[in-house]
């Protein structure tokens, strides 16, 4: 549904987006993840035809954005970072205006406006002026205008930014409910958002794609070897030697020391579950096993690792 090839955008000497390529299949929700200033908004603006790329191509629903911008734009709904509302218009008038300029046939306009207002839960705000809406409602009206012409593709730039936790949950549910009919690209710098709403993630940093996969695969792949955290009351014995002697264990490192308790980070060969043997070995050696848990790298840690090149790996993992 969306094909992006080698997209590059330069502002003078500054390169905002540098050779970004990705594809999005029909009905998929793609998360566009990256720190502020990574080039997310620029990429989305190119994707919606707001600005042309310096190099590269973007196709939406089979239409090239540079060769046939009007046809492509007919099939895109876009919610920019700040919802593009006219403060002097009522919600209903505003949505009617958007329906007109997005090419909704005159006979369907009123019906579409009613449908999207119900879908985004703003039906009771129809007569309210856009300038007098709360942040949460502004965002919902922004979403309503994006889907008013029932576009194939939805591009949402930080759809939950600035909302309160309840509104964030509602907005995510709304986005998920839209996924069946629409292909969605959403950007965010909030990590849980990606694992909760998206089927696939593109992580972008300094204008470049640094990773692309499903949230689960990304977690698994970057984890590499499995590791286990064990806390032992060694009672003067050498727990490290015992741990190192377990078959399948590759490295054992002291993670922390709390009085008589010592915490170890035990790494094993990939795909091998060593938890049972660790437990029986320690208990067998007469040590007190206080804690045993698998260490999983959260998406947050992966993200940090991928996007902060100057931070040593150990720190990023801690």
């Amino acid at each position: 549904m969306i094909e992006v090839q080698q997209l590059t955008k330069r502002y003078g000497p500054f390169t905002a987006v540098d050779g970004v390529s990705f594809n999005v299949a029909k009905g998929e929700i793609l998360g566009f993840l990256g720190p502020n200033g990574a080039g997310k908004t620029t990429t989305m603006r190119i994707l919606t035809g707001y600005m042309p790329p310096t190099e590269g191509r973007a196709r939406v629903a089979g239409f090239d954005l540079q060769d046939s911008p009007i046809e492509a734009k007919r099939r895109i709904g876009y919610l920019p970072e700040t919802p593009p509302l006219y403060p002097d218009m009522t919600v209903r008038d505003y949505l009617l205006f958007v329906a007109r300029i997005k090419g909704v046939p005159p006979g369907d306009q009123a019906g579409r406006v009613q449908t999207v207002m119900e879908r985004t839960h703003v039906a009771d705000m129809g007569r309210r002026h856009c300038g007098k809406l709360s942040k949460g409602y502004r965002q919902r009206v922004g979403l309503a205008q994006a889907i008013i012409h029932n576009p194939d593709v939805l591009v949402l730039d930080e759809p939950t930014a600035g909302l309160d936790p309840k509104q964030i949950i509602e907005t995510r549910q709304l986005i998920r409910s839209l996924a069946g009919d629409h292909t969605i690209v959403l950007s965010t710098h909030i990590l849980p958002e990606v694992s909760q709403t998206c089927q696939r993630v593109v992580i972008i940093n300094k204008g470049r794609v640094v990773a692309e996969d499903t949230p689960d695969n990304l977690t698994a792949r970057l984890q590499g070897a499995a590791s286990v955290y064990v806390q032992v009351d060694a009672q003067g014995g050498d727990a490290q030697a015992v741990l190192a002697g377990i078959p399948g264990v590759t490295t054992v490192a002291v993670a922390e020391q709390q009085g008589p308790l010592t915490g170890y980070e035990v790494q094993s060969e990939a795909g091998r579950d060593i938890r049972r043997s660790v437990a029986s070995a320690l208990v067998g050696a007469g040590f007190g096993l206080v804690e045993l848990r698998p260490m999983r790298m959260s998406l947050e840690e992966i993200f940090l690792q991928l996007t902060t090149s100057d931070v040593p790996e150990e720190v990023a993992r801690a």
Partner: protein, 257 residues
């Protein structure tokens, strides 16, 4: 066309849902009415004096020559003050609030956007003229002026204002600050006015060139009841040129990002 009208409608909506439209229409009607009154009292004083000298008769003083024409000429200068206030928000405000992003990502051509905004502003301006023209109805009720110069005079005013609006649209797209856009437009329109004054003392060739270019020079004939294609073409060129620059600068902004 439908897209253009949708934009024009929204522009008018924006004018009339804020005090701008009412202040503009009201203030222009007030100024026009006041000018009308002062010309009228001067005119009736003159005719009274004429009749005292025994030169009475309806055509002793021509209402069109003595009243309507100078009134419309002055109105032409007054609209120079009004147009920048009309056009300064058109693009600058959309850029500041980010709504320009909605327009530029909708299936609209640049020309549709620019023409829509132009028609919206011209629409409000036409309302201003229409309301003020009601003053002249009194002349037809109590006197017998020629109709043609009045109509052509207003057509001229409409073309003159539309030319100003086209220039104002372009300048509004150069900035995201309404005040800056307004001041730029004032400066540009005042230059056009000053140019025609400079022309008076610029020698025969200079004068010919300047008066060919001056926006106000071309307006004079309209107020005499003459619709010369040369002048119509002049104003249409000013409008087209202004709108062309606007459309180009909308496109250029895309590349600048």
């Amino acid at each position: 066309m439908r897209n253009t009208l949708a934009i024009a409608r929204r522009e008018l909506h924006a004018y009339f849902s804020s005090p701008i439209a009412y202040i503009m229409v009201g203030l222009f009607a007030l100024l026009f009415g006041w000018m009308f009154y002062s010309f009228l009292s001067f005119f009736s004083e003159q005719s009274l004096r004429m009749s005292q000298f025994g030169m009475a008769g309806p055509q002793a003083l021509n209402v069109n020559e003595m009243l309507i024409r100078p009134l419309l000429l002055q109105a032409g200068i007054i609209i120079l003050i009004f147009v920048p206030t009309l056009t300064m928000r058109t693009f600058a405000e959309e850029k500041r609030s980010g709504t320009i992003e909605l327009l530029l990502t909708s299936p609209l051509t640049d020309w549709e956007i620019v023409l829509g905004k132009f028609l919206g502003a011209v629409g409000l301006y036409a309302v201003m003229l229409l309301l003020s023209s009601l003053n002249l109805v009194w002349l037809f009720v109590y006197g017998d002026p020629e109709l043609a110069p009045v109509v052509t005079g207003f057509v001229g005013l409409l073309l003159l204002g539309a030319g100003f609006i086209a220039i104002g649209l372009f300048l509004s797209n150069l900035t995201r600050n309404q005040i800056v856009a307004g001041l730029l437009t004032y400066a540009a329109l005042l230059m056009l006015l000053l140019v025609s004054w400079v022309g008076e003392s610029a020698g025969p060739v200079g004068k010919a060139i300047v008066s060919a270019l001056s926006v106000f020079q071309h307006f004079e004939d309209f107020s005499k009841g003459v619709v010369d294609t040369q002048h119509v073409i002049y104003y249409l060129s000013v409008i087209t040129f202004g709108l062309f620059l606007t459309a180009r600068s909308v496109d250029a902004d895309r590349w600048r990002g």
